[in-house]
Subunit: 333 residues, 2 copies
């Protein structure tokens, strides 16, 4: 008997998610069918975008279903194989997170060559969040020589990679995060000017002080007041990669938009939203660059790891309370 | 004695400009100096962007100075020439609007070849507003086959040209304007779906009805509620050319930004502000296309003309009350 514990969406959160929105269920997986494999997950990912899937509304990914296991990135080991393409012991990446183990068609899984990296790196710096940083900064924001780069949620899974790529490429980087631990972390990864947005009375003034000549690129993970500040301080022809706006994900009411969006006209700013799945043509270049940067020590991978499937809802909620440093993960075995 | 009457900025408007913010002064121009010419203006332009120059703040053009003549597009005839490059009778375009006549260096003026068009066309459909429409739609919004196009302030100087270019290129066009006269005008120039935003209870619902499959391009002249509606109804990969946001130009407080800007992330939207002066490399292509479209009758030029320099402040104020159809002009001689 192959027992699996999984996290299901019990009710749709209103505002900030709570433990009561989730339930943990035990299921017997049975044996994998023909062409299927059984996988035991090593790590699962919790990511801010998952909050959007908890609403019952159309979006670029369908909503999670009530009473069903949640989905998300995971990395695990094949324990039974009924398909010649995967062997027992192979490391595989999947969207079957939020569960300890699962059966799935081999074709739904991606075999991972670690290139010497720890498995969980493929959920973080060398996975979707890292790829998001890479595509957003280099393609969407079209980083070019001399750009001054501003990053919000700079100590998060995506933000911390954006900061480091920009530093590797020789740019001045301003990072915003909340609290002493995160600001110290940002200094440790080479961010030039660190803004503690929780301590700053006036975020626009703080950004102006950090970038007296203005910013050219803004990598937005936060929206809200950060987007306002970036519009105010942007130089002409500035480019904003809109990656996420976590400040509003739990808002029950429409959250206020940037009151100074008119700045985009006079300063010819480009604000471009993106989702990483539209940029996977960059994956080979990303993996080549990222493995090189990690090997040389120019890029550091930082994780916050909670342990056990029962910790998963709490780990997810931490994202919205800003309690993670770098990539938030749950270790499952 | 060469008498000139000119309009000066007497005080900076707070909110909606009023006649009291302007004064008309008479000056003796004297004779033009060496290398200078004297010009009598035929038409002057009033444009929404001038409102921004009435604030005392840094922007992409410097603020107007109190007690000095305002500036803006004008077209006139050379009456005295002290420079071999211009002859008496030549038609010239300049930024010396808001005055009946002026002396200026010949090098500051642009000689106009009319190609059979009336002189005032070079302040409208064949001038800056037309060029703004052309660059914004074709380059900034990167119009491509199959795009459904939404235009706000569609009956204005820029919007009416955007609508017509999109129709010439075979697109479905949705235009928003206020009141029966304007909506009838939009139908007369071939706009497929006309929204009277003053009559619509819910602009987003009205736009969804006009574009049940969504919009791909939004040409924003208005901001505010129109921008919200466009974000709500945009299809993935939509492109917004942010040309102006007249709804907020007179706001004393910061006006509400788009509360649904988060839509830009999930739908990978690009919002790009622009000012036409960065796109003058397109001028030869624009003049070739536009003169062809005007000659063939595919493009119609529509003006609202007030008469006499003393009418200029009122003509300017009309822009913000939506009382102009097409290009707002003041005939000076």
């Amino acid at each position: 008997m192959a027992l699996n514990r999984e996290v299901r969406l019990k009710s749709r959160p209103e505002g900030m998610p709570t433990a009561a929105n989730f339930e943990i269920a035990s299921v017997d997986l049975g044996a994998p069918g023909a062409g299927e494999v059984q996988v035991r997950n090593l790590f699962m990912s919790v990511d801010p975008y998952m909050r959007g899937r908890m609403y019952d509304r159309a979006s670029y990914v369908p909503p999670f279903e009530l009473g069903k296991a949640l989905q998300g990135g995971a990395i695990g080991t094949v324990t039974v194989s009924n398909d010649p393409s995967l062997q027992v012991g192979d490391l595989v990446q999947s969207m079957f997170g939020w569960r300890e183990a699962f059966n799935a068609p081999a074709s739904a899984l991606q075999k991972v060559e670690t290139h010497g990296l720890p498995p969980q790196a493929f959920l973080g710096v060398a996975g979707m969040p890292g790829m998001t940083a890479y595509a957003g900064l280099l393609r969407v924001a079209a980083l070019k020589e001399g750009d001054v780069v501003f990053v919000s949620a700079a100590a998060g899974a995506v933000g911390s990679v954006v900061c480091q790529i920009a530093k590797i490429k020789g740019h001045t980087v301003i990072g915003s995060a909340g609290g002493e631990e995160k600001t110290a972390f940002l200094k440790s990864i080479g961010v030039d000017h660190v803004i503690d947005y929780k301590a700053a009375k006036d975020l626009t003034a703080a950004l102006m002080e950090a970038a007296p000549k203005g910013i050219d690129v803004y990598f937005d993970n936060v929206g809200g007041e950060h987007l306002n500040a970036a519009l105010a301080v942007a130089r002409p022809m500035g480019r904003f990669a809109l990656c996420g706006m976590i400040s509003g994900y739990n808002d029950l009411d429409a959250c206020p938009g940037p009151s100074n969006i008119i700045q985009a006209v006079g300063k010819s700013l480009r604000l471009e939203g993106f989702i990483v799945s539209n940029h996977y043509d960059l994956l080979p270049a990303f993996l080549k660059d990222m493995s090189g940067w990690l090997a040389s020590g120019q890029m550091k991978s930082t994780d916050t790891v909670d342990v056990g499937i029962e910790a998963a809802p709490g780990a997810f909620i931490k994202l919205f309370k800003g309690e993670n440093l770098g990539k938030m993960l749950v270790k499952l075995s």
